[in-house]
């Protein structure tokens, strides 16, 4: 395969039912009305020369290179701004046009360095291409006089350079930052000859500016002015493979552009239905961890965790692991072992791990990291709607009139989707944008950003989501705003009436509940009215909803609200969980929970079990297994002794670190499979090196249920893809597994899971991606769910009573800590910390309101001690009024901070999802790291020692 850029049609696709036929250079073409002449020509393969146009941006019409002649029209109109008309006759190449274009090109080139041979973009430069296309052979002027050459480069961004000497001021970058990303970091400064691109103030460089390093401007730049540093270093790619980002639940698809086995750059794929050609700093640039020097590529074992690691062969590692697991099961019983699947690995890998546990270990002790993030989504949406997944595709947001964001910070957590949402929130072509309601203790970026202002921000006290949603429901029901016709037709009417009676009680009014929620009742009523009556209303929520003692109740309260207002079952509405890790949805779908087989069928269901038993030839335990926190409790009790963890770092990501540490320390065999010696590996006895998403085939499923291919572009550094490692472990345990390729695993999944019946690698190659359910009824998948009826039949209203958390503030712990994440880092940061993304977030900081800071004599940047009933840590303060008085906020990306040392083990009543979002704490001045941090530092140094191997394989 040779390399070529993705086709550029010059201007965005037009949507219209009306078709228009015209001829371009004598060839007929039919396109939707509203299409530009440039795009119509491109559709039949005619590339009209252009510089300022690209199909990700609105047409601009500044470079005058794309001139055409149209029969009967005067002059030479710009094809990028001229819409097609029926019967139009267009000529793209005439002597007159040629002359005009040459003149334009000459002006550009006269002010452009002619170092094409040594330029990073050589062969990948539109200016160069266009000079060729217009037949430019000679440049008459510019040899003396003022030019823009020789200006200093801005190399502050760790991933791309800005070389102003090469800029042709086409403003594609400025428009990309505005239209695609929505950050508006760039401007064109000055006018005429003096105009140039600038990242804010004259003194600003890219790193110091508002720029979030999404790469949209780099993508849009037709010259080498904005170029990836990796491209400058390595050279142009020679092939491209489409694959899926392994970071977050948006699931952006990229072209991995390769030179040999070296990755040159990741370029967002324009045909990707989740990202539509956009990306964020993580997926676009932060892949350097894949070849980081700390990556472990050989298996290691040790007898106890105070010994150094010893490198061994794969065979020895598997034989040892198998004998340990067998020994432990013989001694402590069949249920004394278990495993954890990864929300970062592929569906196929996850499926195999849970199969290994159910079929090989003979119990259901399998859980996944989704336990600590979205398990309440599974419980809540399954109970109310009948299926554990979001109801819409991402495109749906473009048809929303009201957007309610609760407990989510999409600009940081789901940046590419946030850009899409912002596009809908901003006014467009004179039409107002969608209206926005934000329910969040913090004033997130979305509340106020360029051209966007939330209609309502409800800064609730952490832990009172249910009370706020009940008060909204109270307003809707008592003011007669419910859509009773919808409810009568689609939901259980009796259950609705019980619910309506409950929410209508005076004790559930916004005025009464304000005492606990601290939300202004008038503002809350306004938000409820807007949600119920503002047209299509869509709810987007995140971990600020689920990670509470009432996480499941909150999810059900959200579902109640959507059903009561008829906002379900069509584009533009719905209930949409924003998932954290790339494959959280997939991990849940694949049967990673201890009570469920793939496709959300309870293990006590004899029919479901029979299906698996027939296929796998073993009996499946009808009793649910242990969830992660239960495993740790059982370990401390001495009843749970061995754990196989694939691609998760529970020590850092799970709450109450010292309890997790105690549980792990009580086990006799902990097997960790990962890229790096993560924190959990400090307690491990067997380390199996993992592979990155670049090194394997498989699929991920994003937050909109979209199954997308992951494609191998290089050989695994560790020798095996993760699914192979699991298979080899299974074989060592005596299971006769013979998968030759992940596609065979997918075939098994499809065979055993009704909602995946129509999924196969061949279908995915054909369609690009598929949203489940995909089966005979919906062969191409299902973008919007519950259209004609709920999956469970009638929608179920569940009364959700506000039950305050037992984690209460008091004199010793007067503040509420809530946790979150930021854009440039991902989860526990194991990958992003091993990239240049550290330029943006070198440490976790504690956000604290100025009043609380002053009470404690704290200044911005001071070291503070953060203490809860569970433990204490220290970090530096960031004084800001983004958080309300009484609330503090931090992230958990860095192991030095160990924010989870302070989080407690309170959890959601239905799923045991930990209550990360509420911890009572005290903050006080400190001089540096806490005892725990120092002890832990020493321990991990000891635990990470690797003995130099004498005997090689």
């Amino acid at each position: 395969m040779t390399y070529s850029r993705q086709a550029d049609f010059g201007t965005p696709e037009a949507h219209s039912d009306k078709a228009v036929t015209l001829t371009v250079d004598g060839r007929p073409v039919t396109v939707p009305a509203g299409t530009t002449v440039m795009r119509a020509a491109a559709e039949i393969g005619t590339a009209i020369p252009k510089l300022c146009a690209t199909d990700s941006l609105k047409q601009f019409g500044s470079c005058r290179l794309c001139l055409v002649e149209i029969d009967g029209a005067r002059g030479t109109p710009a094809s990028c701004t001229t819409p097609v008309a029926e019967g139009m006759v267009v000529h793209t190449q005439t002597p007159r046009l040629q002359k005009l274009r040459k003149g334009v090109m000459e002006l550009y080139i006269s002010d452009h360095p002619l170092d094409c041979l040594t330029c990073a973009a050589n062969g990948d430069c539109e200016l160069q291409d266009q000079a060729g296309a217009v037949g430019l052979r000679d440049v008459r002027y510019g040899k003396e006089g003022a030019t823009h050459l020789g200006q200093a480069k801005d190399q502050s961004n760790p991933y791309f350079d800005f070389d102003p000497s090469k800029c042709i001021v086409c403003s594609r970058c400025v428009r990309a930052c505005d239209e695609v990303q929505g950050t508006l970091a760039l401007t064109i400064e000055g006018r005429g000859f003096g105009s140039k691109v600038s990242a804010g103030l004259a003194s600003d460089d890219f790193l110091g500016s508002e720029c979030v390093s999404c790469g949209a401007c780099v993508q849009a730049c037709p010259t080498a002015t904005l170029s990836e540093k990796s491209l400058i270093e390595i050279g142009t790619p020679e092939r491209a493979v489409v694959t899926t980002c392994a970071y977050c639940g948006v699931g952006c698809t990229f072209r991995a552009e390769m030179r040999g086995e070296q990755l040159v750059r990741m370029v967002p794929w324009k045909d990707g239905k989740a990202n539509r050609g956009h990306s964020c700093v993580k997926g676009r640039f932060a892949w350097g961890y894949a070849t980081h020097k700390e990556r472990i590529t050989r298996p290691m074992i040790r007898a106890s965790i105070d010994q150094p690691w010893r490198e061994v062969s794969w065979d020895e590692a598997f034989a040892h692991a198998a004998s340990e697991l067998k020994r432990i099961q013989a001694k402590y019983g069949r249920r004394s072992v278990g495993g954890i699947t990864s929300s970062r690995c592929t569906n196929e890998e996850t499926f195999l791990v849970q199969k290994l546990i159910r079929a090989g270990f003979g119990n259901n002790n399998v859980d996944t990291c989704a336990r600590v993030c979205h398990s309440p989504t599974g419980y809540g949406l399954k109970t109310t709607f009948g299926t554990s997944a979001g109801t819409q595709d991402f495109d749906s947001v473009m048809q929303a009139d009201v957007i309610l964001v609760i407990g989510a910070n999409p600009t940081d957590g789901h940046p590419v989707f946030a850009s899409r949402m912002k596009r809908r929130l901003r006014p467009k072509n004179g039409q107002p944008g969608a209206r926005l309601i934000v329910v969040d203790p913090r004033r997130t970026d979305l509340v106020r950003s360029p051209h966007i202002e939330a209609a309502h921000h409800l800064p609730l006290r952490p832990g009172t989501n249910v009370a706020v949603l009940t008060a909204m429901a109270h307003t809707i029901v008592t003011e007669g705003l419910a859509d009773e016709a919808f409810v009568r037709e689609r939901c259980d009417w009796d259950e609705y009436q019980e619910w309506a009676e409950f929410v209508s009680r005076p004790e559930n009014s916004p005025e009464t509940l304000a005492a606990v929620t601290l939300v202004d009742p008038a503002e809350l009523r306004g938000a409820a009215r807007l949600y119920a009556t503002g047209g299509n209303a869509a709810i987007y929520y995140g971990l600020g909803v689920t990670e509470h003692s009432q996480g499941s109740s909150t999810v059900m309260a959200i579902a109640n609200l959507a059903m009561a207002t008829g906002n379900i079952g069509r584009p533009g509405v719905g209930v949409n969980p924003l998932r954290g890790q790339n494959n959280v949805q997939g991990a849940c779908d694949m049967g990673s929970f201890p009570h469920e087989l793939s496709g959300y069928r309870h293990v006590s269901d004899p029919d479901a079990r029979a299906l698996f038993e027939a296929d796998w030839g073993v009996a499946i335990d009808p009793e649910p297994g242990l969830r992660i926190p239960n495993m740790l409790d059982a370990a401390v009790d001495g009843a749970f002794k061995a754990l196989y963890v694939q691609g998760e770092d529970i020590l850092q990501s799970d709450p109450n670190t010292s309890h997790v540490a105690a549980g792990l320390a009580a086990m006799e065999c902990v097997i960790v499979q990962d890229l790096f010696l993560n924190e959990t590996a400090n307690y491990a006895h067997i380390f199996l090196p993992g592979s990155t998403f670049l090194e394997k085939d498989g699929t991920f499923t994003n937050a909109e249920r979209r199954i997308q291919p992951v494609r191998k572009v290089m050989e695994p550094l560790n020798g095996h893809a993760d699914w192979e490692v699991t298979q080899l472990l299974a074989r060592a345990l005596g299971l006769d597994w013979n998968y030759r390729h992940p596609s065979e695993v997918m075939d098994e999944i499809a065979r055993l899971t009704p909602s995946f019946a129509g999924v196969s690698f061949a279908r995915l190659d054909e369609l690009g991606s598929i949203q489940w359910p995909a089966n005979d009824k919906a062969p191409d998948g299902t973008p919007v769910m519950h259209i004609d009826g709920f999956v469970r039949g009638k929608g179920k209203f569940v009364v959700t009573d506000y039950v305050p958390t037992d984690e209460k503030t008091g004199p010793r712990y007067p503040l509420l800590l809530t946790t979150g994440r930021i854009l440039s880092h991902y989860n526990v940061g194991a990958q992003t910390r091993r990239t240049a993304n550290t330029a943006w977030h070198p440490e976790d900081r504690l956000e604290i309101h100025p009043v609380d800071a002053e009470d404690r004599g704290l200044k911005d940047g001071d070291w503070v001690r953060l203490a809860s009933r569970a433990g204490e840590t220290s970090l530096r303060a960031l004084v800001t009024d983004r958080v309300a008085p009484g609330v503090v906020y931090t992230t958990f990306h860095h192991p030095q901070t160990q924010a989870n040392v302070v989080t407690t083990d309170y959890s959601d009543w239905a799923t045991n999802c930990p209550e990360y979002k509420v911890t009572a704490v005290q903050v006080s001045p400190s001089n540096g790291p806490s005892h725990w941090q120092e002890d832990y530092e020493a321990l991990s140094e000891r635990a990470r020692r690797i003995e130099t191997a004498e005997a090689a394989e």
Binding site: R335, S553, H595, L626, D633, V799, D801, V803
Partner: protein
């Protein structure tokens, strides 16, 4: 909290969250929840030592004993 105490806490927490239902339904809801989501050892532990349970949770555990 040790494991036993935590199980009692969890059962009571489930009961509190279904408390708006009439008592007989609430008891069934708690019992069904424990049956569906707790592993056999957890069930055995709470059956063996139901001290500290609130009335609804206690009745739910008794119900589990009879239906199991």
């Amino acid at each position: 909290m040790n494991s036993q105490e935590r199980l009692v806490y969890m059962a009571n927490q489930i009961a509190r969250n279904v408390a708006t239902q009439p008592e007989p339904q609430a008891i069934v809801a708690v019992a069904d929840h424990i049956k569906a989501f707790w592993d056999p050892r957890m069930k055995a532990m709470i059956l063996a030592a139901p001290e500290g349970l609130t009335p609804v949770a206690r009745a739910a555990v008794e119900r589990l004993r009879t239906v199991q």
